[in-house]
Symmetry: C2
Subunit: 169 residues, 2 copies
Amino acid sequence: MPKDSTLADVVTLDRYDRQILELLQHHGRINNQELAERIGLSPSPCLRRVRALEDSGLITGYRALVDAKRLGHSLTALLHISMDRHTPERFANFETKVAALPQVQECLLITGQEADYQLKVVVHDMDDYQNLLLNQITRIEGVTGAHSSFVLRRVLEHRPVPSHPDTAY
Amino acid sequence: MPKDSTLADVVTLDRYDRQILELLQHHGRINNQELAERIGLSPSPCLRRVRALEDSGLITGYRALVDAKRLGHSLTALLHISMDRHTPERFANFETKVAALPQVQECLLITGQEADYQLKVVVHDMDDYQNLLLNQITRIEGVTGAHSSFVLRRVLEHRPVPSHPDTAY
DNA sequence: TCTTTTTTTGGCATATAATTCCAATATCAT
DNA sequence: ATGATATTGGAATTATATGCCAAAAAAAGA
């Protein structure tokens, strides 16, 4: 009989799995042969492990990263949104409306007296930002407040999730 | 003679390039044959375009996404940090120290009276968070304030950067 | 509009990589 | 130590990537 487990169980990983996760988080399109070589395993078990990590849901997908500025999106902003009432309907409606805006890169439901959501948005310039904010976001039902911060510089981004238990302090 | 251009020029893309960017931002590890088929081009020009997008710096890399919770990082927090003085040395030192913390997923220098930096961190639990905050982050020279928000739910994450000009409002 | 020039494509040949299978090895529990 | 279980490595096969070039398309010029 298998040990107690749920679908969302925290998995146990050995050094190979950790190395695979580490490498794929940096080089998501590395080929299996090179991945195998780098972790010190032959290609077939390496590929099996990658598939297992994908099938287990530990690896949830792969993404290409694109330079937003080169695409003409010079301005990135963090938007803190407050809602009037904290009902499921309000939230569901807000989330649907926000999901329809392509400028929204991220939407997090957060704790805090100052805001219920944090959005990360990319736009071409301040005019576009103003339009987005005034004509789209603040018009969503239930939105009572919005506070903007602008990203001056991306110091760190897309860093790998630590694949081993945090070390002691 | 080539037209005026700088390294960071905003590039012009046709529908194929846009489709490639769109698909690779969703399926970063799709193979070239399927990518070609999906955008309606044969494999060789498709691959040439992908390479061109990579070489031009528009595609800056590829990442595997991993489920932080499954790795035991149950708590994600947004940390707003204020600094005492806004000197390059202060900032450089802070950024170096923060880059050495594996729990830090993102660090943005932002505008706003309330904070200079926003960090996104992942930890196992509240105890770990407390340790990180009190023993690591607030001890960095120049840090005068820290305000925490916790991520209750990730509504939207890792969304593709729009690859065509924003539509009119 | 027609012609010339330039760019891009599609298909083929070749090189490289992924995938499957199984015997051999290593690991684990007793 | 011993048997049971899981994992590996290598070979054969299948699939994919890559480089090349003639043909098609697009752009520029007359």
